[in-house]
Amino acid sequence: MHELAISLALIDEAERVARQHGARAVAHLRVVVGPLSGVDGEQLARAYSIARAGRLTAEATLEWSAAPVRVCCEQCGATTDAAAQRLLCADCGSWRTRVVSGADLTLQSIELIDARH
């Protein structure tokens, strides 16, 4: 249940952006959850719905989407889709790959109410 701690970090970040723009409140958050970030999107949404109270996010809805897991092969250079527990190159089968999508947990955008600047 580290999703609660992550929700609080998300709300801190949303408030920081809201204050920076002089906004009255936050209306909506869009988050991208990488399957390799170790965070479950459903759980994050549930934890967020409790954690948002009493902050500029009190009325803000959360929308999350899963990032695709993609790897770039260091042998053949191809970038292909992969499964979280099997990060092999789909083209040549090599395990010498680098994850290029799916490891991050990102606050993509935020809708502010009455932003002043």
């Binding site: 970040e13 952006v17 390799l36 527990q85 947990l105 990102t106 809708e111 502010l112 932003a115």
Partner: protein, 258 residues
């Protein structure tokens, strides 16, 4: 209400919404604190290691044995993370090294801020290695960088050899995987160390997989050698890359799994 005719149209201007693109990591604040911790370790030429596993995999027992083995060679200290009790810190202190206990209460992982508080209670100037024993949990600790140079994942034989595939976030980031309680391998005939190696490799992780047993002593010398080489490698490359991604500990002193 409209002041002109009394109709129900609101006269207050509607709230204006504006969409701002942010594209920032939600855990950036923890990452910044982790970088700060790293700077503390680097400033004192200390190698910091994050030990993670399920509860009961033998992290504390391994550390107790390791401290005894390293006596006179490397100066160690331990930061212990548990939900409750200071049992583990007391066990470590009996071996003559400093240990700081973090009790997290209901929190299922250590984060960089907790480690920062603890590291200020350690005499970093007189140390070579700081072990951070994370809360026993194969899920949550994997999401929080602490500022350590390497993550080490333990997997004990009774847990089964499929854990790396089941907990990819943890095992993908490990710079070293230790199969602990290896003295039980003859009893748990289904457990295949080769299967662990294959699963770790399927996570695009070149980390070596070593078998160790505190009870029989098997693999302890390899592990100690890995530690000494890691200290030497870090000193040879000050400002080495952070450890969250698997390939970063490329100075790993052991042969890559084939």
């Amino acid at each position: 209400m409209c002041e002109t005719c009394g109709c129900a149209v609101a006269t207050e201007r509607p709230a204006a919404t504006e969409t701002i693109t942010v594209m920032r990591g939600i855990l950036d604040q923890n990452a910044a604190q982790a970088a700060h911790n790293r700077a503390h370790f680097e400033a004192h030429d200390v190698l910091a290691l994050n030990l993670m596993s399920a509860p009961g995999s033998g992290k504390t027992a391994l550390l107790e044995r390791t401290i005894d083995e390293l006596a006179g060679r490397l100066r160690c200290a331990v930061i212990e993370g548990d939900l409750e009790t200071d049992n583990d810190a007391r066990r470590i202190r009996r071996h003559g090294v400093p240990a700081i206990q973090i009790t997290t209460g209901a929190t299922c992982h250590l984060d960089a801020a907790m480690v920062h508080e603890a590291l200020h209670q350690l005499p970093l100037a007189g140390l070579d290695v700081v072990f951070i024993e994370n809360v026993g949990n194969l899920v949550c600790p994997a999401s929080f960088a602490l500022g350590t140079h390497a993550d080490i994942a333990l997997l004990s034989v009774p847990e089964g050899d499929d854990k790396a595939a089941k907990y990819p976030v943890m095992f993908r980031a490990a710079s070293l995987v230790l199969v602990s309680k290896a003295d039980l391998l003859p009893v748990f005939e289904d457990f295949s160390v080769a299967a662990v190696r294959t699963a770790v490799q399927a996570l695009a992780n070149p980390a070596p997989v070593l078998t160790v047993s505190v009870k029989s002593g098997v693999g302890i010398l390899d592990w100690v050698e890995w530690l000494c080489a890691a200290v030497a490698a870090r000193r040879a490359r000050p400002g080495a890359e952070p450890s969250r991604a698997p390939a970063h500990f490329s100075a790993a002193p052991f042969a890559q799994p084939s």
